[in-house]
């Protein structure tokens, strides 16, 4: 036990009780990291979802960076701009295309001399849907060899994967919650056995089961809250650490901006929920066990 409380039942003699805060701290740490991962992943999925839905890329082959290819690109651009549902279409400048290939080819490869494809970025108008099949056929007619790539299909698969990971994270949290409940049940039952004499005396003095249960549930609440606060503090530290590393590789903005205030609120509720679950578990365990004892 980290901090002692005065109770009728001498919980400080209870070895199971001494370990409970640390077990809860570990459980809450794991839950906190899993929840943080799920929230962050959800944010990424939303960003990808909104950024990629309704987006298309048209690629005119690399060996075609010629006057003819430029004419084909102008024709394709004109064609696209007339297509219903298109909000914006632009040809990516060569410097931007170079920047896109730099992570694979590096800075010093002389990529500037390579024959790069002409890329046209197409965005649907707000609320509009582009018929990709029709557009693809028109583009192929205007520029033979051009490839029309819809981001939605790729994004859909990615989002599907992300959602699966998110569900797994929730399952992990649920299993950790179940393990915490079982730990509290075990600790409470052990406590009931250890303090059988005192419980018997309290009964003889006229204590209702509810009075005894209240002592156990407050103890469980207190111990779990201590463990949960420690666990969530370490989880927040871990999240900030990961966010800092993610910021370094420009995957996410560093630290604070990773969660919205509401998401931070959900995160902060974890210790409170854990403590309340421990309280209810202890109450139910004591009431059921005492009914069987006498």
């Amino acid at each position: 036990m980290l901090i002692r409380r005065q109770t009728d039942i001498p919980f400080e003699q209870d070895s199971a009780g001494r370990l409970l805060p640390w077990i809860v701290a570990i459980m809450i740490y794991l839950s906190g990291v899993a929840i943080a991962g799920a929230i962050a992943l959800n944010g990424l999925v939303s960003t990808w979802s909104s950024g990629l839905s309704g987006a298309l890329t048209i690629q005119i082959p690399a060996d075609a960076e010629t006057a003819k290819a430029r004419q084909q690109a102008d024709a394709v651009l004109a064609l696209i701009r007339k297509t219903p549902g298109v909000g914006q279409a632009r040809r990516l400048p060569r410097q931007e295309v170079l920047r896109l290939v730099r992570p694979w080819l590096g800075d010093d490869t002389g990529a500037g001399d390579l024959p790069l494809p002409i890329l046209i970025d197409v965005r649907a108008a707000a609320g509009a849907v582009i018929d990709t099949a029709v557009l693809s056929a028109k583009v192929a007619a205007a520029a033979p060899g051009a490839v029309t790539e819809s981001h939605a299909r790729w994004a859909g698969r990615l989002i599907g994967l992300a959602r699966s990971i998110w569900l797994v994270a929730l399952l992990v949290v649920a299993l950790i919650g179940l393990a915490t409940v079982l730990t509290v049940v075990f600790a409470t039952r052990t406590g009931l056995r250890i303090h059988r004499r005192v419980i018997g005396l309290l009964h003889l003095i006229g204590a209702h089961d509810r009075y005894i249960a209240r002592q156990f549930e407050r103890q469980a609440l207190w111990l779990s809250l201590q463990g949960a606060v420690i666990g969530i503090a370490f989880a927040i530290g871990t999240v900030f650490g990961i966010a800092h590393l993610a910021g370094k590789i420009e995957l996410q903005p560093a630290t604070g901006a990773i969660f919205t205030p509401l998401q931070w609120g959900i995160f902060a509720c974890v210790p409170v929920v854990a403590a309340l679950v421990a309280l209810l578990t202890a109450r139910i365990t004591v009431m059921r066990t005492l009914r069987r004892m006498t």
Binding site: Q6, D8, P10, E12, Q13, V198, L201, L202, H203, L204, I205, G206, A207, H208, Y211, R291, T294
Partner: protein, 212 residues
């Protein structure tokens, strides 16, 4: 009454206590005094026969009603049954806390009673630091703190000198005058003779009433 498959400890026991009466319970060691006390304070249920307490048959008592009856009974256990991690004040306040009493009045009331039993200097002491006699007085204070309707004391003067013993019996008499029914199980025939209250004597599982 028997424990498991053992012999019958109490077999011929029939008595009724008038509210406000005072009795000594005597008998050889092993005669069943503690068993009889446990039957009365609802620590045991009889294997046969009937126990009526405050007009209610304990065999048919719903579980939720038991604490209410127990709060009307004060018990001084032979082995004191104090909680070692609590101070004398907190031990004595236990029946009040269990009954829902809170606040500074509780501590004041408990402190007054402990002073009365001669433990005014030991209010914050924990049982392991108290002598046998002091522990016994804490146990007595705990039994009488909420002015029970029935007081059961198992050898309450076993660990104190005669002067304190007399004083404790006088405390029980005072409670008795306020309406508490008192039963004191004792080996101390000096006290029994001195106070001359009716005596219930247990022998061979049977109870015999002897007028004081």
């Amino acid at each position: 009454m028997r424990y498991g498959a053992g012999p019958e400890v109490l077999s011929d026991v029939a008595f009724s206590l008038e509210p406000g009466s005072f009795h000594f319970l005597t008998g050889e060691s092993g005669a069943g005094k503690s068993t009889l006390m446990r039957l009365i304070y609802l620590s045991l249920r009889p294997t046969r026969g009937l126990v009526h307490l405050f007009g209610r048959d304990v065999a048919t008592l719903p579980r939720d009603s038991v604490p209410g009856l127990r709060r009307r009974i004060g018990v001084v256990y032979q082995d004191f049954q104090l909680l070692d991690h609590l101070t004398a004040v907190d031990n004595v306040a236990l029946p009040l806390r269990v009954a829902g009493a809170r606040g500074p009045d509780v501590k004041k009331h408990v402190s007054e009673l402990l002073r009365w039993v001669g433990l005014g200097e030991r209010l914050g002491a924990k049982p392991p630091t108290l002598s046998g006699g002091e522990q016994q007085r804490v146990a007595i204070a705990r039994a009488v703190i909420n002015r029970p309707d029935l007081l059961l004391a198992d050898e309450p003067t076993g660990n104190v000198d005669d002067n304190i013993g007399v004083r404790l019996i006088q405390l029980f008499e005072e409670l008795n005058r306020m309406g508490t029914t008192v039963i004191i199980a004792t080996h101390n025939f000096g006290l029994v003779d001195r106070f001359r209250y009716p005596r219930m004597d247990l022998e061979d599982g049977a109870l015999r009433l002897i007028r004081g």
